[in-house]
């Protein structure tokens, strides 16, 4: 019986997640019993799951992983692919922040609240953010200030403010600091004019100052006096956080990639033919999951997702991922997950014992990869040997739909414009030879009105 305890949520003594024989379970510990019972009896669970704001679960009769502590074992609905905040675009992080505040406000109506506000508690499922951690709700201790206020500001507000007011790439700070961006750092990095915004003034700048000022102060002890923060004041705080988050905006601009499809060298006929070939290849192979690498704004990812294939649409460019997400959100697309991934420096395993965040492949690999108009960026733009690229791709998925872009193509010529051409192996024959070491060629076709070739490859 293969059993693994997952460590993403190991800090919360209320329970933990474990896998057994490929199934995912959540053990609820006895110390969380009263909270768990209220979550269900109050109607909060029904409300947040019916509105798809939280992942639903079923109580199951399987042996707990730690019987001495156990109250119940739950089987949550499985999320097809786990992603992290540093892989989200601006609007994805913003929507995750708004969901967290919405859940906090709804919980208060039922006598509960969120005891934590960690961005890793939120996942994208069926095209929208959802709370993944059932154990985040606890009985509301009337009068107590929100214990997760600092965490919310570090995990959501500070990175969003930095992305909106300094540089959208600062979401990558979350890759290094899993517990969010320290508020003193955020306060130092934000431009002075953000102090004129009442939300940022209070929740970032003054908050950082208060932390500095009371850093050595004794931790508050429980007592039985008058309420410290009334429920109305708490709701006011949540409303203020919400309007602050709502006020943060970022529009993709100035990206070399944001308008790629408008600037591409494709004719309409070439684009249509390429799309037809991708569709044909996908129909030829029966797959459930696809990763579209270098997906830009997801134009070709949608050929897969429209066929009911769950598609992770990855690109390194924040503007492209933002456009992709906004389109998916507007069209309520359920099978598409846009993520910001830099393929030449992909998300690493990190956190305690490398177990709190996982690599791309550790979170699950797809049935097929799509690498369209990508190989020249890897081989020429990043000096990666074709054999290395083939080896990496073959390690991820049994099927590969890949486009070869020759040196004569204007997009490749642009990459070579300011440098010496040292890429002797980068030819169609060189490509066939390098990828032939790892794959069988199942199909191959020239894309009309272009010099490009589209391959369907099957791993040996």
């Amino acid at each position: 019986m293969a059993e693994t305890r997952l460590t993403e949520v190991f800090r919360d003594p209320s329970g933990f997640v474990f896998t057994r024989d490929g199934q995912l379970y959540r053990q609820v510990n006895k110390r969380y019993q009263a909270d768990y019972d209220l979550l269900h009896s109050s109607g909060l669970y029904a409300e947040v799951t019916e509105r798809s704001l939280m992942i639903p679960h079923t109580e199951v009769k399987v042996a707990p992983a730690d019987p001495e502590l156990a109250y119940k074992v739950l089987q949550p609905e499985r999320i097809p692919y786990i992603s992290y905040a540093y892989e989200w675009s601006f609007s994805q992080l913003k929507d995750a922040a708004l969901l967290t505040l919405s859940l906090q406000k709804r919980a208060l109506k039922y006598g509960m609240w969120l005891k934590d506000a960690n961005n890793s508690n939120i996942q994208f499922h069926n095209g929208r953010p959802v709370l993944m951690d059932t154990l985040s709700f606890e009985i509301y201790p009337e009068g107590q200030p929100w214990t997760a206020y600092r965490q919310f500001c570090q995990h959501f507000l500070a990175p969003l403010a930095l992305m909106a007011h300094v540089d959208v790439r600062l979401n990558q700070l979350l890759r290094n600091w899993l517990d969010g961006v320290d508020l003193s750092l955020a306060s130092r990095l934000l431009p002075w004019h953000t102090r004129l915004n009442s939300g940022l003034l209070l929740h970032i700048h003054a908050h950082a100052g208060a932390q500095r000022r009371y850093a050595g102060a004794a931790q508050p002890q429980a007592g039985g006096g008058k309420p410290g923060l009334t429920k109305t004041a708490l709701l006011g705080l949540i409303d203020h956080l919400r309007s602050t988050v709502q006020g943060l905006k970022w529009k993709p601009a100035g990206s070399a990639w944001g308008n790629y499809y408008a600037e591409t060298n494709y004719s309409n006929a070439a684009e249509r033919h390429k799309a037809e070939l991708v569709e044909q290849y996908l129909k030829k192979i029966t797959v459930k999951t696809v990763w579209d690498l270098g997906a830009n704004n997801g134009l070709y990812s949608r050929i897969a997702s429209r066929q009911g294939i769950f598609t992770v649409s990855q690109d390194y460019d924040p503007a492209a991922v933002e456009q992709n997400y906004l389109q998916a959100k507007a069209n309520k697309e359920q099978n598409l997950l846009p993520l910001q991934i830099d393929l030449v420096n992909p998300s690493p395993a990190s956190g305690w014992a490398y177990g709190e965040r996982h690599t791309l492949a550790e979170r699950g690999t797809p049935d097929a990869l799509m690498a369209l108009a990508l190989v020249h960026h890897l081989a020429i733009g990043n000096n990666l040997a074709l054999g290395r690229i083939a080896e990496f791709f073959a390690g991820l998925a049994p099927w590969l739909i890949i486009e070869f872009v020759p040196k004569s193509d204007s997009q490749t010529r642009r990459l070579l414009a300011a440098r010496k051409d040292i890429f002797d192996e980068y030819t169609l024959d060189g490509f066939r030879h390098a990828f032939g070491q790892r794959y069988h060629i199942e199909a191959e076709a020239s894309i009309a009105e272009s010099e490009r070739t589209l391959f369907l490859l099957k791993r040996k």
Partner: protein, 75 residues
Amino acid sequence: MKKEELSKWLLAGVLFIPAASDPQYLDPGSGSLILQLIIAGAAAVSYAFRHSIGRLFKVFRRNKDEDATDPDNEE
């Protein structure tokens, strides 16, 4: 009032906070708790105002500038 005195009063206020049902596993940070107490009055007034007077204008506002995909607007 001197800064030291103010912080003493504020900390005293924090000490009257009722107990949570389970000891917190998250360190809320003293500064974060104190800041909430400082802004509590304004937050309460703002909330009461928005949800009494503001409710009158809700119908007009929703159609104009609220984000339809904000989960709070799906009630």
